[in-house]
Each structure stands twice: as structure tokens, then as C-alpha cells.
Amino acid sequence: MNMLEIRGLEVSIGDTQILRGVDLSVSAGEIHVIMGPNGSGKSTLAKVLVGHPDCEVSSGEVDYAGRSLLEMDAEERALEGVFLAFQNPVEIPGVGNAYLLKAAVNAMRRHRGETELDAFDFLSMVREQLQQVGMSEDMLKRSVNAGFSGGEKKRNELLQLALLKPRLAILDELDSGLDIDGMKAVCTQISSMHTPDRAMLLVTHYPRMLEHLRVDHVHIMSGGRLVQSGGLELVGHLEQGGYETFSA
């Protein structure tokens, strides 16, 4: 059974229709990549899946693990294992990063019927993950994303991904704003989190990121639809002809 099944999804933001009928099936263990030019609707697809209030669904259905995803509110989707690594994570001045992480981890543990972690257990758990994503402990003490560089914000999203262990991870342009070394590190991290029971949906502009990952499916998005799906060979076409070749 597919973990995620999107059928005929149409979505507007404000008065503008962005998604014009998206169909997509994702199974556990797969990595899907959605590529497309600016404004094609990639980020809107990522946002609607996590219940962003700006997204108005006018038509279509989304099944997630046998339930209707669109009927769940944003927290419930998160607690049921749908995670979005934001393209531009918001800054929350005054709230310690560690505090937010602990609140999120414990909300998840409560939901799964596990005991909540105290400050000590949490810290030892987070320390292990910090090294993996290449963050210093000092970033736990700073306010959430406040004054973080582009790269630090992305690593902070990855840290949350590692801590929250979602079933469906949606990564919205995780590669933007990273240099080559940063991108390699991010890819290594993503690969290490690629497990048979977890699906990943990557939204990206740039084919280069895919060289470092074992990608199962590539989808080209244009004008609010997925206009072509295939394997990595699509990336080759893209590099030769640009997005023009795929226009709807």
C-alpha cells in the first residue's frame, strides 16, 4: 500500500490557483524528487501536505497511511509523522532552540504513548544528533533560528528531522543557500536517514543535489501539475533542454 496517495489535488493561495490537479503516489522507503521552475507550485505542494493555513484545497484527495490527510489539522499531521523542513524557517526570538526541540520531541513522545524526556535525557539524545548534522552545542542555547545563517537554519531543520523521526519527510529546497560542501553534508545526512519505513519527498531547483542521493522517482512540475515522471534520466533531459521541454 502506498504511504501517500494524492489524487486530483487543486489548491489556491488567496485568489490565485496554484495547484491544478496533482496526482502522486509515494511508498515507504522511496525518495521522490519534485523539480520545476519558480512558481510552478512545488512549495505549495509541500505546504498543503502539512496543512498550512494559507493553502485552500478546492478539489482532490490525499490519503496518508490509510487516513484522509486533509481532514487532519496541522498538529495532528505532524504527530502522525508528516514533517516539513521549511525553505525559510521562521525566527522565534526569545525562545531557546533547545526548548523548542524538547517541546517538539515530547509532544511526539506523548502522542506515541512514550514517556517524556527530562532535560538531561533530552540533552544526551540531542548531543548525538548535533554531531551528525554538524552543529555546535552553542546553537541549542540561541533563540530558534534567530540570527542563524542560511546554512545553520538548514542544519537546524535537519536536526529536527533526525530528532522527530517522521514517516514522511518533505524537504523544501533544503539545498538552497548551501555551498558544495554544505550540500554534500546535507545529502550524507539525508542518506543516513533514508530507511525502509520512511518516505522522502524532496523539492528542489537544482539537479546537482541528486548526484549524491539514491533517488527512486523524479517528477517535473509545471503550471501546477506534475507533467512528467520517471527516473534519474529526466534530470539529464533537464540539464540539456531546461524546463521548456517539459512545459504542460
Binding site: P53, V90, P93, G94, A104, A107, H111, S143
Partner: protein, 480 residues
């Protein structure tokens, strides 16, 4: 309305838990205010002649004064003849806790302040002021062992007249301002505290103010004197029943710190704030001032202001002694139709005096929150320093935050810093938290707590927990 605004307003509409009324037989003076009222209050307390005279002078001065309306708050003129100025439970003065009316004990228990000492938080002594009188003071004897005097103001007048006479009105003179003069004329009780030289008060002292009767005002007076080299930490809490009409609370607090003494004064103010339509609630018009009279003395005010329909208060420090230090840490929340005009005055008179002001205003609903502060350094106050940080957090788009700072530097060695920020809890911040599985309520509490952290950490530990809960409750319904 955006999601955040709707969520904020839902979160805020939680019930006021302290809003119950205890039916008791009372001894009240009839409504109205005249010299006879003042005499009758003084007579009920069998006060010495000098105090009655002091009250009468204050009353006559008050008659010549105008109700101040410069605060950033709107309200109908108050009819000072309509309220009763004294209301006390009808019972002979209890000699011990066992004699206190069980209904009153129960009231305090419901409020989470058990007065029976065996149930008390270890290390906290409580003076319980119920309407116009102090009904019980705990740990009096234990404190007396180290020479600390902690009792009701009325008892202090009888038992320690020389101390009361020496310090009363020396920080807030009886004609200081309209409400202070009114208080001086009709104050009915309050707490008195004296810490002898070189003594560290062995426990937290606290006063719990409860307005119970309807159609009365509460006018209490607190006087804390820390003799040279002593230290005391003092906390006050306040609640009142829910009523449709406004009730006046005009208190005066005077603090005196002699050489090398330190007073930490904390307030958790949770008077009934009025309902969601702005009906009822307490008018909290209070004068609080501390005098760092001796060299190297220190006074800090920490306040968590969540209640009252209108708050008008400026806990201030007169930094008279050389090298003395003053501090003001404040969190003020206004929700629904609450209005707060609060801040501080730091008057630097001595050399090398320093002051710190940290003010955090949170506005939600139609709440209006003003910070009003003055930092003044006189010509003699060489090398005086002040640091002010004044932050506002807005929830929704119907509320307001205002800042009125005044700085007067009377000599060229003064250093003053003022930092200010205004921020808003945004939809994106809340969504980010929700995407991580954190509920809106928890997200708001987290952001508000983070915003107030610097002030909360100044509270005694036992009360910081309470204060955090109260912040959560005050803002429940603020987001929805």
C-alpha cells in the same frame, strides 16, 4: 481575522479562577467619604492621636487635589462618595489561626494560600489581608526570634509606634499624589516589616490581598524597613471576586533600605480584570516607592501584572545613598479591554548609583499597554548609570503598546542606555510550532515565557512557577 488573531482571542477567554465570593457578615462603614469616615476608621483601630491627625491632614490635602488623567487609559470619573471605605469580617480580632473564621481560611485555601502553618510552603510567612483588615499573620513568633518584625499595619501601630512614626510617609508623603493622599486618609490595614541590622530574613515574607466585599475599596499600606546590612525578600499577591462594577484599590507601599541593606519586592497582581466585554474589574491605582537611603543599599521591584481593569502604578527607587542600586523588572499583560499604564522612576541622587529597568509588555485582545518611565540623575549624582530595556509583544491587531520614556541627565558623567523592541506573535511562528507537533496554546505559552524569561528569573523560585501558570491562564483564549 487571521488564524493567529482568532487563536489568540480564544486562548484569552479562560475563566478567572479567583473570581468567587465568600458570604460573610461584615462590619462596614456606610458608603461615603468625609472627615467622619476618616475618624471612624481611626477609631475602629483605636489609633493614637498623631495618626488620626496625619490622616486628617492627608484628607484635607486630598480634597484640594485633582484626579490624575494623564495615564494612557480611558475610564468614567469615579464617584468617591459611592463606595464604602471600610469593610471587615464581623469577628473579634482572632488571636491565633485557630480563631480565624473557617470560611476565611477556606477562602485562602481555595486561592492556594493555606494559612495553617503546617500546610504552608516551607520558608514563606504570610500576612493575609481580607478586605480592610489583616486576618492572620503566620510565622510571627519564629521571625521574632531573629528580631524580624512582621505583622499587620494595625498591630504595628499599637506595638511598634516609634518605628511606624519614624518611617511612615517618609518615602511616599501623605500628599504625594491624589491616590496616595486618599490612601493616607483612609488606609485600613496592610503589612509592616522591620529587619534589624545585619540580619538576613530567614524566610520569604508575603502579603496576600483579597478583596471580597462588594462596593468597597481596598486601601492598604505596606511599610518595609531594612536596617543596615540586612536583607529581605517580600512578595505580594492579589485577587478579587468577579463583579460587574469597578472596584478601587489604591494602595501605598513604602520601602526603606539603610546602609548596605537589600530589599527584593515582588508582586504577582491578579485582581479581577473584568469580563471579555470590559465590564467590571479592579482599578489598581497604586503608589510604590523605595528609598535607597543608605550607601550601597539595593532595592529591586519585580512585578507580574496580569489582572485589573486599569493599572496605574510606577514602582520607583530613590537612589539617595552613594553606590546604591535600583531595579525594576516588569511583565504586564493586558487582554480583552484591560488597560495598563505602568513603569518606574529611577531618581539618582547619590554618586555612582546605578539602575536597571526591564519592562515587558504583552497586549492581546483590545488591551492597551503603556510603559511610562523616568530616569533622572541630579547634579550630585556623578557617574550615575542606567540601563533600560523596554519590549512589547503584540497578539492580534486590536491591541496597543505605547512607550513614554523620559530621561533627565543633570551632570555630564551620567550614562543612560535605552533599548526598545516591538514584536508580534506571527502566524508563521505558530505554524512552525504546530508543524513540529506543538499545540497553539503551548506555542503561545512558549513564546510568551521566552519573552518574559528575563523578568521571571528575578522572582523567588516558588513563585516563578505560579507566575508562569498565571501567564498561561491570562493569555488563554488569546489565540484561537
Amino acid at each position: 481575522m487571521s488564524t493567529a488573531n482568532k487563536e489568540i482571542s480564544d486562548l484569552l477567554n479562560e475563566r478567572y479562577a479567583a473570581g468567587f465570593y465568600t458570604p460573610l457578615e461584615t462590619d462596614s462603614v456606610p458608603p461615603g467619604l468625609s472627615e467622619d469616615t476618616v475618624r471612624s476608621i481611626s477609631a475602629r483601630k483605636a489609633e493614637p492621636e498623631w495618626l488620626l491627625k496625619w490622616r486628617l491632614r492627608a484628607y484635607r490635602r486630598w480634597l484640594e487635589m485633582q484626579e490624575p488623567h494623564w495615564a494612557h487609559a480611558k475610564y468614567a470619573p469615579i464617584d468617591y462618595q459611592a463606595a464604602s471605605y471600610y469593610s471587615a469580617p464581623k469577628q473579634d480580632k482572632p488571636k491565633s489561626l485557630d480563631e480565624v473564621d473557617p470560611q476565611i481560611l477556606e477562602t485562602y485555601e481555595k486561592l492556594g494560600i493555606p494559612l495553617r502553618e503546617r500546610e504552608l510552603l516551607a520558608g514563606v510567612a504570610v500576612d493575609a489581608v481580607f478586605d480592610s483588615v489583616s486576618v492572620a499573620t503566620t510565622f510571627k513568633e519564629k521571625l521574632a526570634e531573629v528580631g524580624v518584625i512582621f505583622c499587620s499595619f494595625s498591630d504595628a501601630v499599637q506595638e511598634h509606634p516609634q518605628l511606624v512614626r519614624k518611617y511612615l510617609g517618609t518615602v511616599v508623603p501623605r500628599g504625594d499624589n491624589f491616590y496616595a493622599a486618599l490612601n493616607a486618609a483612609v488606609f485600613s490595614d496592610g503589612s509592616f516589616c522591620y529587619i534589624p541590622p545585619d540580619t538576613r530574613c530567614p524566610m520569604e515574607l508575603s502579603t496576600y490581598f483579597r478583596i471580597n466585599a462588594g462596593n468597597t475599596g481596598q486601601f492598604e499600606r505596606t511599610l518595609v524597613v531594612a536596617d543596615r546590612g540586612s536583607h529581605v525578600s517580600y512578595l505580594e499577591g492579589c485577587t478579587a471576586p468577579m463583579r460587574d462594577n469597578n472596584q478601587l484599590h489604591a494602595a501605598v507601599v513604602e520601602l526603606v533600605a539603610l546602609e548596605d541593606a537589600e530589599i527584593k519586592y515582588s508582586t504577582v497582581q491578579n485582581w479581577y480584570p473584568g469580563d471579555a466585554q470590559g465590564r467590571g474589574g479592579i482599578y489598581n491605582f497604586v503608589t510604590k516607592r523605595g528609598d535607597c537611603r543608605g550607601a550601597r543599599s539595593r532595592i529591586s521591584w519585580t512585578q507580574i501584572e496580569t489582572g485589573s481593569a486599569i493599572t496605574w502604578k510606577y514602582p520607583s527607587c530613590i537612589l539617595r545613598g552613594d553606590h546604591s542600586r535600583g531595579a525594576f523588572y516588569s511583565v504586564a499583560i493586558t487582554n480583552n479591554w484591560q488597560q495598563a499604564d505602568t513603569g518606574t522612576k529611577m531618581i539618582h541622587l547619590g554618586r555612582h548609583t546605578s539602575s536597571t529597568i526591564i519592562s515587558k509588555g504583552i497586549s492581546a485582545g483590545h488591551g492597551q499597554n503603556a510603559y511610562r518611565g523616568m530616569v533622572e540623575a541630579g547634579p550630585r549624582a556623578s557617574h550615575a548609570r542606567n540601563f533600560t530595556q523596554c519590549d512589547s509583544l503584540l497578539m492580534g491587531d486590536q491591541c496597543g503598546a505605547h512607550t513614554f520614556p523620559v530621561i533627565r541627565a543633570g551632570n555630564c558623567t551620567v550614562q543612560v542606555e535605552h533599548e526598545a523592541t516591538t514584536s508580534k506573535i506571527s502566524d508563521e511562528q505558530l505554524f512552525y510550532c504546530r508543524q513540529r507537533g506543538i499545540s497553539t496554546e503551548d506555542a503561545v505559552a512558549m513564546i510568551v515565557n521566552g519573552f518574559c524569561q528575563r523578568v521571571l528569573e528575578e522572582l523567588p523560585m516558588e513563585f516563578a512557577v505560579e507566575a508562569r501558570k498565571l501567564l498561561g491562564i491570562s493569555l488563554e483564549g488569546a489565540i484561537g
